[in-house]
């Protein structure tokens, strides 16, 4: 048997590990505190509360605990992570090396401009690169996440309309847009108006024309949309919105499909955010830190957050004198360490490399789609972009759900794809392989899913009870959601 035909597996040595409260013993310590030269004094009782129940632990207790827990983890460094909509591409280690350079990592954010020309230059050049990649004119690197970029975009919409002399109350949002879009619009005081996509998964310009009025600030759309399909009529839609005095927000979360291929400005997009933690290979998952830079047309540049990095002659400085700016939306310069990683990635890849990455991401997704559509139901059978969306329709006779198939994938050593999103596909199974995976690995993944489909017919209970080979079996998600346990036990 060749190495590649064996299952990737999740077996082997699985550590047991108790909670730290059960591991600690009174009197253990992880550090030696130097003798004090200040006499001990009693604390005023009024300042005291209930003591916090922390266990006493030695250094090795803590190191082993977290190292062992990390063995239960699964990341893109351990295997394929086809989590649709999340672009879990490999994060090259050179990015980490650049970000750890002491001159960069240790630079204090309050250094005077003349003492941090290198870091300012890095920010300036990253802004310029992102502008070149999107076709837009100006960029703010401050937003710390995709949804934060969306909020910044909505604040810019709001500030621009105010500057035009009349505020508007509504925003159009297609049902194939990212789920955070309505929340970002609502947070900015806009009422989200949903637009249904058509039977091809596309946004119909006629519907936009019907809904777009003088009380609507604009539209927020995701392109490619959450079905992994390219909104072909985006220029027509943008023209309709602009004709009524509205703006077009592009959610760039799916930009990994189109780097160097589309020009957002020529598509009619006025504001676009990028997820550096997706498209530009900065670490992603576990809740952050992320970066969601916002790119805008020159008309909207005055409204970008301050401070702005500007170049004057041969030097760089921070400029906060922008009276129309929406203000500061993050302390200092956003998540600077993440920006360094993205800058490193862009320089490493170059223009041709980024374009090739997008092409391969699209090719990989289409390859998976074509190789599986005879066994998994494909609701929108047409060329996709960077991800493809199947459903569990073919497995309904066996009463096997998307969740069962996703859980079974864990047994074969894969992180499951995104499930039950987008909402417009019932029982969605959304696969985004990214450009990271080579054909051998894609073939193995495809063969695995075909095996799972066969198991669904022949041994459905195997799927219903999956996963079998993990440290814990099927978790009770319902109980966890109804009665979440958010605190540790006391040592007792």
């Amino acid at each position: 048997m060749s190495a590649t035909s064996e299952p990737l597996g999740t077996g082997g040595l699985i550590f047991n590990e108790p909670l730290l409260w059960h591991k600690g013993r009174k009197g253990r310590t992880g550090m030696s505190i130097p003798a004090g030269d200040v006499p001990a004094a009693a604390i005023d009782d009024a300042l005291l509360g209930e003591p916090v129940d922390f266990p006493d632990l030695s250094e090795i207790d803590v190191v082993r605990h977290y190292t062992r827990l990390s063995q239960w983890n699964f990341g893109v460094d351990s295997g394929m992570y086809p989590l649709g909509s999340c672009t879990m591409k490999y994060n090259p280690k050179t990015n980490e090396r650049q970000a750890a350079t002491p001159a960069i990592a240790a630079a204090h954010p309050m250094l005077a401009d003349e003492l941090c020309q290198g870091t300012l230059r890095l920010l300036f050049e990253l802004q310029r690169s992102l502008a070149a990649i999107t076709g837009l004119d100006a960029v703010s690197l401050q937003p710390a996440a995709g949804a934060h970029g969306e909020l910044t975009g909505m604040l810019i919409f709001h500030a621009w309309h105010r500057h035009q002399g009349a505020q508007r109350r509504k925003i159009l949002i297609p049902d194939t847009a990212h789920g955070t879009n309505p929340a970002s619009a609502a947070l900015c005081g806009y009422q989200a108006v949903a637009i249904k996509s058509d039977d091809r998964g596309m946004l119909d310009p006629a519907l936009v024309a019907e809904l777009m009025d003088e009380d609507t600030a604009g539209i927020m759309l995701t392109n490619p949309n959450t079905l992994g399909l390219f909104e072909e009529r985006i220029r027509e839609i943008a023209a309709i919105v602009h004709a009524k005095g509205g703006l077009v927000y592009g959610d760039g979360a799916n930009m990994n499909a189109v780097l160097g291929v589309i020009d957002a400005k020529r598509c009619g997009i006025d504001v676009l955010h990028l997820n550096l933690h997706k498209t530009f290979s900065t670490p992603h998952g576990g809740g952050g830190p992320g970066a969601g830079p916002v790119c805008v047309t020159s008309e909207l540049e005055p409204f970008l957050p301050v401070p702005r990095v500007v170049k004057e002659g041969g030097s760089f400085r921070l400029d906060s004198d922008r009276p129309l700016s929406v203000g500061r939306i993050h302390a200092f310069h956003g998540n600077f360490g993440i920006l360094v990683r993205a800058y490193s990635y862009i320089l490493t890849m170059g223009e041709a490399g980024l374009k090739q990455a997008s092409r391969l991401a699209v090719l990989n997704a289409n390859y998976i789609k074509e190789q599986l559509k005879d066994v998994l139901h494909l609701p929108y059978d047409r060329p996709c972009m960077h991800e493809c969306v199947f459903s569990d329709l073919n497995q309904q006779a066996q009463k096997i759900t998307t969740l069962d198939m996703a859980k079974r994938l864990i047994d074969y050593g894969y992180h499951p794809p995104t499930i039950y999103f987008p909402l417009v596909v019932h029982g969605a199974l959304m696969i985004e392989p990214t450009e990271t995976e080579c054909k051998d690995d894609l073939d193995q993944f495809i063969a695995t899913l075909r095996t799972i489909v066969r198991e669904a017919e022949e041994q459905p209970d195997l799927l219903r009870q999956a996963p079998h080979r993990t440290k814990v079996r099927r978790l009770d998600e319902v109980q966890a959601a109804r009665c979440p346990c958010l605190i540790g036990p006391s040592a007792g």
Binding site: Q396, K399, T401, Y420, L423, H426, E477, V478, A481, R482
Partner: protein
Amino acid sequence: MKEIEELKLPDDIRYTDDHEWAKITGDTVLVGVSDYAQDQMGDVVFVELPAIGDTFAKGDEFGTLESVKAVSELYMPMSGEVIAVNTALADSPELINQQPYATWIVEIKPSDPSEYGQLHDAASYLQLLKG
């Protein structure tokens, strides 16, 4: 999940396109979600309810149901004022899965009782589900 034939669709209530049901009780109307809705959503873990006294037009969103799969909006089957909400759902959202028709979510005083007649009866709702 249930086959369409396995769904319970009582005859004494009316249904919406969005899978709510409405039941006349004297001069008020009880509102819940259909067997199909609870089955599609899976285990409901949280119900967001409106306030008593809120008024809505037919089709307005009046609350949300959250399951482990998704969050779904609840839409008014008829226009009216909320006169009661089912407070038992705060601690026992699973009632919606266990007894979808015995578990009302809100009670409303309809502003236009004739809207009831515009809702699907069981036969027409079944046709809708069959597509």
